[in-house]
Structures are given as C-alpha cells and as structure tokens.
C-alpha cells in the first residue's frame, strides 16, 4: 500500500493527483479536521502499544505505516523541516517503532516493531527556501530514514505546486 502524507489544500491536491487515489491502493493522510499534538506521554508504547492514546483520526498512524510499502511526504518547508501539520502527523507516528534501543550506524535508535521496509520519498515546497534550509532538510530526511530503517530515500525541492505537477 502506498501512503501519502501531505499538507496540501484540496485544489492543489487535485492538481497533483487528478485521478482518485483510493482506486490504486493509496492511502492519503491530509489535513482533515482538528489534529491533536503528541503529548509526550509514551502511552503508545506502554498503555495501548502500537496505537496513539489520542483517538482522533490520526491515532492509527503506526498501523498505517506498518501496512505501507512506500511513503511519499509532500510538505511546505519550515526552517529546514516539515510543516507543522506534517510534523504533527510524524510526531503521532511513533507507535510504529518500539521503545527498545538498537545501535544503527554507530548511534542509538529505536528498534523496529514491524518488519516492513518502505522507501521514503520527500518533496519540500516553498518559494524562498534558503540554501541553508535545503541543507538542513536533506539531513532531516536522512535522519528520518535511519530512524525508520528505510534503505532508500530521496529529497526534492520545488518552488510551488506547479513545479510538482506530473512528478507523482
């Protein structure tokens, strides 16, 4: 299953994905009502393992990631990272991983809860992303890829929606 996480408004989403996404086995995570922020309670590890204790529509991101074979993130670039909405969903996605530690690339990371591996593809957009922000963003995606234990990842930048048309 392909998982797309994006912060696009409906009109822009339609420009990038003119065909209905659910017809080709894609799950779309987008702004849809209120999203609560992660409270740092670790309930997703020790109270309801594998699921966020906040039961809004973003409470099962761990399960969604477990079923995904490909993750595409489209986000406005904020200070060299994801937009608040996309970051909010990623913060709520830690039930995907396990609280125990492993050493990966010489550093401590979290162990996997699930066996699936997915390639991570990230598109950052924004009119005036600075060179420094691009450098930070590339490193952030690399760090995310290591934490999710992705073997393949890519980072791309676009000034706006128009430049991303036809890319997906």
């Amino acid at each position: 299953m392909r998982l797309i996480l994006c912060d696009l408004e409906s009109a822009d989403l339609h420009r990038l994905f003119p065909q209905p996404l659910d017809e080709n086995g894609t799950i779309l995570i987008k702004k849809d009502g209120k999203i609560h922020n992660c409270l740092g309670c670790f309930g997703c590890w020790v109270k309801t393992p594998g699921a966020c204790v906040i039961r809004d529509q973003y409470g099962d991101m761990g399960e969604q990631l477990a079923k995904c074979s490909e993750l595409l993130i489209i986000s406005q670039c904020y200070y060299g990272g994801f937009s608040p909405f996309v970051k909010n969903v990623l913060d709520r996605s830690i039930p995907y991983i396990h609280p125990y530690f492993v050493i990966r690339n010489g550093r401590m990371h979290h162990r996997r809860r699930y066996k699936n591996h997915f390639p991570l593809q990230v598109w950052f957009y924004g009119e005036d992303i600075s060179a420094t922000e691009k450098q930070t963003a590339k490193k952030v995606v690399e760090a995310n890829a290591i934490n999710y234990d992705c073997q393949i990842y890519s980072v791309s930048f676009a000034p706006g929606i128009t430049e991303m048309e036809g890319q997906f």
Binding site: P49, G50, Y79, H109
Partner: protein
Amino acid sequence: MKIALINGSPKKKDSASGLVLENFKAFLTGDDQIITELHFYRPQITTEEVGKLMDCDALVFAFPLYVDAIPSHLLRCLRQLEWVFTALNGREILVYTIVNCGFYESQHNELAIEMMKNWSVRAGLKWGQGLAIGTGGMLNMLENIKPGQGPFKKMKKAFKQLANQILTRSSAETIYFTASFPRFLYKLGGEAGWRKAIKENGLKKKDLFLQK
C-alpha cells in the same frame, strides 16, 4: 538584562525540559537579570505571552527532540513568533536553545538546533548558541543530583559556558553533553524502565511488542 526561559515541552508538568531550565536558571547569576519563565505546551501563544517576550534581550528555549526535530506544537508557536518578531524589526535579540533527547548521543539534537538557527534568521533574530543533551532518560535524576555531581559532572561546565554566552550577549558553537554513564548500561536501564512502565499499566512485558 531581560532573559526569557521558554519550556517547549508539551507536558504540562514534570517535563525534563522544565527540570533542565530549573537547574540552568541558577547559573544566570548577576544583579541586573530579570528572568521571565514561560511554558509553551499548547500549539499557540497568547497575546500576554507574546507581550512578555517583546522586551527581552535573550530567548532561551528548552525542548525535547521529537522525530529528529522540533515538536509540532512548538513549531506552530515559532511560526506565530516569526511573524511577531519580523514586524518588530530593530532591537537585537539573541536566541539560545537547549534540546534534550532520550538517545544516548547528544548529536541527535543537531538538526533541531539547526532548525532553531534557521528560525532565528527568518524571525530577524541573532543566533546565540545551542546545547545538545543526550541521555535524556536520566534527566529526572536532576531532582536529586545537581549539575556537577555524579553522571552530571560535565553538565556544570556546559551550563556555565551557555550562561556566560547569554550574559555577555555573545554567540558560540553548540555544546554537546551526554551523562557520564556507559551506553550499554543506559540501554539496559532504559529497557528495564519500559518493562516496569507497561506492567504498571496492567499489561505484560510481551505487550511491548504488540502489533496492530
């Protein structure tokens, strides 16, 4: 000199970031320091909170690392502040940031600190310094063990360095702190802690591995 200490943890109480700031405050010595303490635990800042930050000379943020970066609620607050400070345009305000993570290595916090630097540029503020703290799982020990003691022996030096930069309104490279404690023991201790926590919730050890 007016200094704002901003706790960026989403936890309303008992946050490691709050404990770090509480201990760090003692290092900001001097007669003419006015310390303002704020806690951004929600995704927006009130007008009153914005007002308190406006006349500060230094902003000191402390927050936990979330997924290699800034927690999303704080990111929303920073966006709000970016607009406020951009409009302010003029007085030099310095930004200092303390990031703590549960991993052993403090280097994991580098990117969150880099993002705070990038935010400072966007908001028209001057970057001061970052302090990256690893072994965050041990920070609750700060309630009983002071910086300079036991595993926090080197924390005193790190706090002194950061405080000195703030009080002299200067900038410097990021400081990295990891508690003086072996990594394998930290890993074992952390895992034992998760087993204890899940049992306290009426579940079994094996439930840590549950899949949906």
